[in-house]
Each structure stands twice: as C-alpha cells, then as structure tokens.
Symmetry: C2
Subunit: 385 residues, 2 copies
Amino acid sequence: MRDVCIAGIGQIAVGEHWDRSLRDMAVDAVVSALNDAQVERPQMLFVGNMLSGQLSLQENLGALVADYAGLRGIEAFKIEAACASAAAALRLAYLAVAGGMCDVAVACGVEKMTESRSDRVTTALATAADAVYEAEQGVSFVALNALLMQRYMHQYGYRREDFGGFAVNAHANAAGNPWAMFQRPITPEQFATARLIAAPISLLDSAGIGDGAAAVVVMPADLAGQPPRKPVRIRASASATDAVALHDRRDPLVLDAAALSAGRAYAEAGVGPQDVDLFELHDAFTIMSALSIEACGLAPRGHGVGLAKEGAIALHAAHPMSTMGGLKARGHPVGATGLYQVVEACLQLRGEAGVNQIKGASLAMTQNIGGSGANVFTHILERCW
Amino acid sequence: MRDVCIAGIGQIAVGEHWDRSLRDMAVDAVVSALNDAQVERPQMLFVGNMLSGQLSLQENLGALVADYAGLRGIEAFKIEAACASAAAALRLAYLAVAGGMCDVAVACGVEKMTESRSDRVTTALATAADAVYEAEQGVSFVALNALLMQRYMHQYGYRREDFGGFAVNAHANAAGNPWAMFQRPITPEQFATARLIAAPISLLDSAGIGDGAAAVVVMPADLAGQPPRKPVRIRASASATDAVALHDRRDPLVLDAAALSAGRAYAEAGVGPQDVDLFELHDAFTIMSALSIEACGLAPRGHGVGLAKEGAIALHAAHPMSTMGGLKARGHPVGATGLYQVVEACLQLRGEAGVNQIKGASLAMTQNIGGSGANVFTHILERCW
C-alpha cells in the first residue's frame, strides 16, 4: 500500500446556478483540480452523485464528465452512497491509487438540485431512506431527522434552542468563505424563532440544498510531492455501513457506521479524536452534528450538543468544526458535499483558508454521512509540505 | 498487483419477479455467491445498478443490500455506468483486491424494471444517453441504436434480415439456460417478420428488459484456490470511455471505447481475439453485437454481421457467443447484465454450463457496454483449477 496525497483541489461556489448545467459544473471542478495539481490526464475519474438520474434525467455520468472535461477514453465511474456519494468517490480513488492500480485519479462530486420543483427534490432526497419501510409510508428525509432530534431532546433533556450553536458557528464561518451559499451570520435569536420545517427541525437546523461541484486529484505521495504543489496526505480513508431504516438500528441515537468508520480511520492514522485540528462534519441537520461528534469520540453520548453550546467548535476554540460554513451555510449539494468538506480541509491544511485560517492546522478530519447514518466515510488528512 | 480470482458465483433467473423486491433479488444473488465461495463475510460490496433511484425510488443501495445480506458494517458502494453498471462494479472489486486493499470483495448487479410502466422505463433508459443533446430532443435509447443500425445497413449494404443470426443464436442457447427469461428458440423467418420498434430495429433485434441480480466473490488467487472451490482467474479487467452522444463520436460506426477496453484487456492478458474460447458480448441490440465484434477485432469493419450470418458464433463453431442466451434471450436487467455475462462465462469455464457446455473452454471474454458505446468494460477470464 502506497502513501497517497491530494495533489490538487477544485470547487465552484455553491448556489443556484441557472447558467450552468450539471456537466458544466463538474467539468469546472475537475479542470480546476487538474490545473491545481498541474496534471493533464488522469487515468481514472470517480464521479460522486446522488440525484442526476432523478432530477436531470442523466445517468452515465462518469463517461459524460470525462468527455466534457477533455478526458475522453479514461476510465470513469459514477458512485452513489446517498449524501455521502462524493466521499465514496474519494474512497475509491484512494483505493485505486494506494493499491498501485493507477497513478493519477480524480474524485469529483456534483449535484444539480435547484432547477427542480421542491416536491421533486423532497421525493428524490427520500431515496436516501428505506423506500419500502420509510419513504413509502410518507416519511420525508427531514422527518426522519426530526424523529431523531425529538428522541435526542427527550432522552437527554435538551430544548430546540440548545442546537443553535451549530448553525450560528456554521454561518459565522461561511461569512468568510467566498464559495459558500449563505455568506452571512445568524444570531441565536434568529435560530430560536426560525420557521419549523418538521418539528423540532427548523429552517436553520437544516442545510440548504444547492448546485455545486468539487474535485480533488489523488496521487501517490512520491509523485505528488513535487513543487509547486502543496500536497495533503491522506492519513486515513475508511467507511462503514449500518441499516438504512432507523427502526432497524441497534440504537437510533448511536450512529454505529460513523463510529465504526471513525474508529477505522483513527486506527489507520494512528491518532485519536483529540489530535485533530479541525473537523468538517456532516451538519446536514443539527442533530446529525451532535450524533456525529459523539460517534467520533469528541464528546460522550448525549453531550455532542454541549460542544456547540459552549462555543468549543468555533474557529479558534478547542475543536473547530464546519470551518468554511459546513453543509449548513456553505450549502449542501448532496452528492458533492463530501468533496467540499475535503477541499475545505485541504484549504486549511495548505494555509489558504483566508480569514477563516486556523493557525498551524496540520491534521484535519472529514466525515460524510449517507442517509441518516447508513453509509459513513471518514478521512483524516495531513499537511505534508 | 496480485492475481485475482472469482471464487464464487450467484444468480437468480431473469424474469418478471412480482414477488421479489429489488433488495431481495440482490440479497439472493449475493448470498448465493458467498455460499458458492464458502465465504461468510466480505470486506467490501460493490452494487452495480442503473435505475433504482428512478424506478424504485431507492438509492443508498450499497448500505441497503449489505444490511439485508447480513453484512451490516462492511464497506458498500453503488456503482453506475448505465447498462455497464455491473461490470463496473466488478472492475472496482477487482481493483480493490488486486491492489491488496481488501481480501474478499463482492460485486453484485441488480435491476428491477418490470414493476414500472413502460413509458417510465423508456424515459429511465434514455438517461444512458445525453440528456441535453439526445434524450431531451425526443430520441429514445432504442432510436439511437436504430440510427446506428440504419447507418450500418446503408454504409455496408446489409438488409434487416442479415442481423437475424445474432437473435436466432441467442434464443437457441437460452433454451438450455434455466436462468434465462426466454427459454425458447426463434426462427430466421420469425426474426424477419417481427414487429418493428424503431425502424430498422424490431422486437427480435432487442434484448428484453427484466428483473434480475447476479453476483461474484472476488479474492486473491492464493486465497481463492482452495478446494472445493472452482476459482476462475481474472486475466484482464479493463475499461474505457467515449463521448456519450452519438454525434460527438469520431465515427458513429466505430465503438472506440470498446476497442480501447478490449485492447487494454488483450494486452493485460497477453492474448488476442483468436485465443478466446467464448465471448459474452453486449447484444442489447443486434447492431451492438456487430459493432462490439468489430471493435474487439473478431471481424473487420463491416463484417461483424457476417460472423452471425455464417453461423460462426454458434455454441460449437469457431467463435461461440451469447452462450447462455445473451442479453437478447437471457434477458437484460440493465444494471445487472454485466455480472450475468461474467457468471455465465464462469459456468462455462467451470464446466457447469449444462447442455450448453463448450467442451474444453478455458478462456472467456465478456464485454459490457454502457450507453450506445460510452463506457465499456472488458474482462478476460480463465479456468485455473
């Protein structure tokens, strides 16, 4: 197994891109990443995407993106793992390069959501849940997360407002990220009085959907480490699955797959949760943030919310999270999100995070969650230049 | 890079499975393959599927199938490459095992098509084409193949009836395959007078859609080669892409991606087209068979049809093809097809093909085509026990 680096990164701003097609967005991200890595032609392309078939009537996305990126002929695949599709694409690019099966792979995540009617998007997102035992019974994806949040509040004695710290932190950080969809702060009061979507989840508990694409170039460390690149080493790449339906879980308030994939990542990297300088977590809903933090061992059960409440996740606090705005405020183009997280972690490790820069950041963790905890990918990244 | 074997195979009969859900079918195939390989728990699962989001409103298929197969916790991914999704899943399982990133991987292909209205299926299948420049203009997937067939007939001077050899051969072979959807022969006369779907393509040029699932267990050769297994060595695994839209191709009658992936496979295996004892080709339409044969070097340009016309593709002729019925008569559950091809090739190499057994078969080739030639996967398999 070879040491593997991210040799180049690319992203487009998350937003409503009426002037850019699905393929155009993906191509922009891929070409940016290739330019950043100063590589002309990768051998493999892994396109993470969840909804192109349902919302854009476009499958065969691997070949399409490869061709429009000027890479006709290379190997290309579309990878789907619900909201974790992009991190799944990175995981496979990593496998190919670490195993010596290719020298240059690109992982790209892309999603086009805002052109479709909102009811179609809601239906499409519910395909991340169990179609037969959840979605078909009328439970939307937001409603599933609302059930989790309700249970969490009941079991541990929290109120809705206690979750505000996650959203306030994310929006504060997005204000400094030119690629973020919502570059403006919010107040705890705004959070407390936000419109309810599916009680107890409000508009400000929820990540906004958007259009976007992000990409990275993956290379073996010995090839990536040439100036003027700023390679970021992939210290660990791990994933794990759980039941898709909530009622099939061992315990609905424990994300077993997140714990398993984080545990595998820690073991692979030889580090623990306290060694991580920043954590790009899957804050699609505030409840997911709390559960992810607990699964990763950054807080005990029932105390994930506490970290945000106490301000411990702010940029210059003990455990910086969502440092460029997170899913909540950078925006959540679902099949692209996992690579936005990785690109943002790379910006921090490369010292290119602008006003959001965490001084001396050398170790970052990203966690991308597919469904309400069904397929979870954890990556640990390290500055190595 | 390690030598890699297929240590176990599983499939369910292709058909209209009103009593079996998408997940049930996938689980049946995966469990059969694991039992055949005498393996309890793989580390990775790659699920090839094209249409589950559109037709079954179910994504997150990797985690879902892993859980229902009793494999909760393992790594799992859904892979999409249009009609080549299943071979793409095998390609990735191969990469993971050959590169030493895991010791036991399962590749599964599954598709559920017959529960949906036919207009929905037609729309869904068209997502294999270019959504903007082809499908949105009203061209269905069958129509794209009809354009190719028309052009082929015009350029090389063939008539519709000349393509009949492919379908007659496929149906003759399906009669001996208990897993095939159409286990009955057809005559050249039936072919010549079949109802037109999109001229010049008739019902009997076209593979029937169906529900189905097939799976294989992939292991390193040194672990797979223990009795009582009958491991089949993967001598080559290769893929390549081309433009998705026909009008973007260098030459519409040359499948560049098929030629490229076959060329890569031949080079990797150190063999040529004449060394192959049987060829499971992508006979979704008779025109695809002709173009695939030419791309693989089994006949010169414009002569692919000739092979079928002369009877050279029959079971005991020079170049046996579609030996268990092919897509045409075994049935074509699109995202599962690539692994049906591989399972059937393994049956031949293991001497388990029943009345369709090709005596002494030791080298087999499979080619799975995504879209009308956009993403093509070629595998060369060898008996090794």
